[in-house]
Chain length 309, copies 3
Amino acid sequence: MNDFFNKDIISIQDLDKAQLEVIYSETDKILEMESSQRREIARGKALGYLFFEPSTRTRLSFQAAMALIGGTSFGIADANSSSIQKGESLADTVKIMAGYSDVLVLRNSLDGSSRYAAEISEKPLINGGSGTEEHPTQAIQDLYTIRKEKQKIDGLKIGIIGDLKYGRTVYSLLYGLGNYDVDVHLISPESLKIRSDSTYDIKKGLSYTESTSLDEYIEDLDVLYVTRIQKERFPDEEEYMKVKGSYVIGQDIIKKMKDDAIILHPLPRLDEISSDVDSSPHAKYFKQAEYGKFTRAALLGLILNKDGF
Amino acid sequence: MNDFFNKDIISIQDLDKAQLEVIYSETDKILEMESSQRREIARGKALGYLFFEPSTRTRLSFQAAMALIGGTSFGIADANSSSIQKGESLADTVKIMAGYSDVLVLRNSLDGSSRYAAEISEKPLINGGSGTEEHPTQAIQDLYTIRKEKQKIDGLKIGIIGDLKYGRTVYSLLYGLGNYDVDVHLISPESLKIRSDSTYDIKKGLSYTESTSLDEYIEDLDVLYVTRIQKERFPDEEEYMKVKGSYVIGQDIIKKMKDDAIILHPLPRLDEISSDVDSSPHAKYFKQAEYGKFTRAALLGLILNKDGF
Amino acid sequence: MNDFFNKDIISIQDLDKAQLEVIYSETDKILEMESSQRREIARGKALGYLFFEPSTRTRLSFQAAMALIGGTSFGIADANSSSIQKGESLADTVKIMAGYSDVLVLRNSLDGSSRYAAEISEKPLINGGSGTEEHPTQAIQDLYTIRKEKQKIDGLKIGIIGDLKYGRTVYSLLYGLGNYDVDVHLISPESLKIRSDSTYDIKKGLSYTESTSLDEYIEDLDVLYVTRIQKERFPDEEEYMKVKGSYVIGQDIIKKMKDDAIILHPLPRLDEISSDVDSSPHAKYFKQAEYGKFTRAALLGLILNKDGF
């Protein structure tokens, strides 16, 4: 029986390196499969999705993954048109959805919502993003992309730049990277550094440096992971305008990068990466998005099939 | 040819006991089928749904049912983003949807909307809830749950408690119970008794008592069917606060119930049943929700397949 | 290899007569196929839809088409609940959707949006309506309906009536008709004539007359194509009330029509055609809607299968 069969995926912290490697190799397998083989993996299975925060990207990625492996998906894409409006509790919604489907995906703004929901659900539940820290399938997708594009994760120098305070993907990625022997450099405006209440846990797995400038690291990086900087996060517009420019990845920056360095971004992107970077061989963020379909397909396949696929 | 082939399902009043029994036994059959067999029932068939009132529960139940038996579903989940906004008539929307799909489900707030739409539609149409009285697939699901959990319907003592004035599920259930030899006790605040303009029809099939208190019946009931009590239904908040407590099912009440009595609820639930009742062996409302997937799958299978499945 | 394999469908102007004929004959083929054969055409393929303008009709038609030929569809039906809200560019949304699916449909209010998106997309992209002129799949559906119901297009007298200024379907249809030897009569209020900046291109393929009254043509027409007249389009209500009556197709008008003349409408309809016309043998607009499912299925089948189906 495979490790993931009928299991919940709540936090990237629950997965060890060996388990991550299983997901990577199953993703490789799906990428190489014939379409007719893939369709057997989730044939006759249904994914129920519950998105209480808007998220086109993650929802569509799961729907695409399920379609790829022959399954169906349905659910709530928008909490406004749902029974939630009628005052139903999250617990009840989850219980009922578990009766309708074989596996669930939940997106909710509250910390702990997924773990709570998973305890209630009679079917395996995947966290599609919750609270301030957890987005395990995004982290798996990010790690897979690094491994696929760099052929390894251990030994890499990885810069993570942008708003490190509010993006849950950053936290999930850092926890995931804790399984590997990597040099991590965190680059952000002073006011958007990673939250001090999370650093204790992150440091258990990982050592990293923090700075406000990319300059001193850019030439050594193997991976540059860029995140959105949203105006709303700044106390005043002046503050925003001051830092904005220094966190935009453009031609000037990629010129300094190692030839085989890659740029990632969890997307959606605003202005953090100039669109003229898209055609550069460094730019891997759209590949990263596409890999997300395959890593999710692999994960769903493992959860739904006792002996794997 | 089976009785339901290519037929509309508009009102539970259109179905006789023998027809209900067919649906129950086909539901039993689907519950026992292998997944590979189920998927043949609606293979290549499409369900078109038109929900002009918000209804997550019913829509997802139909989508889950269709997926279970190998079909597809698509439609309008929210009248706001549809051609209705452009001023299209219900008749036109239904005619066009009939051209796109093999069977339709319609939810509409107007009495008679489903019967009207069914006359227009060239494809069989299922009422997914209309007006003040009709929700036939909910009633089928309720009756099936009673029969499944109690092994029979005839001879049972059934209490129905809560807002009996505004909930269409109550009316559909009462009409459905009219086919059986049951003792029905209706319990509600004075202002939320069943509407007097409906009692004439209901009494054709059924005799029942009415009261404002559960106390005198609770010890004898085989089935307690609970419905939502919504604050908005009361003329003033004081009135609401006065009755609210007496219509909440908690530990004190289940202690008085017969050992094998069951509690049902059409859901969504607000506070009418304490969540600590969920783990009691009496609580069958989540099973009831799940059975809804199977009763709808059976009904769809009968409508779509000339000689049944 | 078929002409449409992996190709974008951006404008009806990009298709020549021979290509249109291929789509018609493939549509005929699908109409005659067994359901089990149809389902092989897009088996395992996914359609990703991006609707940035509300459009129930077109979206559902594509979903129905994809289901008919055994494929899956998912996407964004409503720009409000999407990443667009987070400020993502159209280009990024398209790129990511291309990674999730095998073929895309885009609806966008801007002229040129589809051609721009198609250049960005790594997967074939179909224009589901853009700007003021382009709605190629609607034009294909219209042309197919004429050919199917009249057995030919060449030699027909075709009247197009209503708001010819703002409806993109009219422009697409006129460009499509440019491939055929037809007599076209455009009938509209003075203020809703086709835009003068489009007439140059339209006249390249087509000669037509313009008038404000249907009277002089009605007896000769083989096809009457009716479009919506929206109150909002008029400078003042008086103006609207003045013309409204003369553009409503009722019993008085159909009495004057040739016995085998047909009435079409791209739908949704408001009051332009009295509902008592629906049962007339002239009325083909609901058939037209249904044919749209099959023409789209044929087009998708050609795009997705190298050697056709």
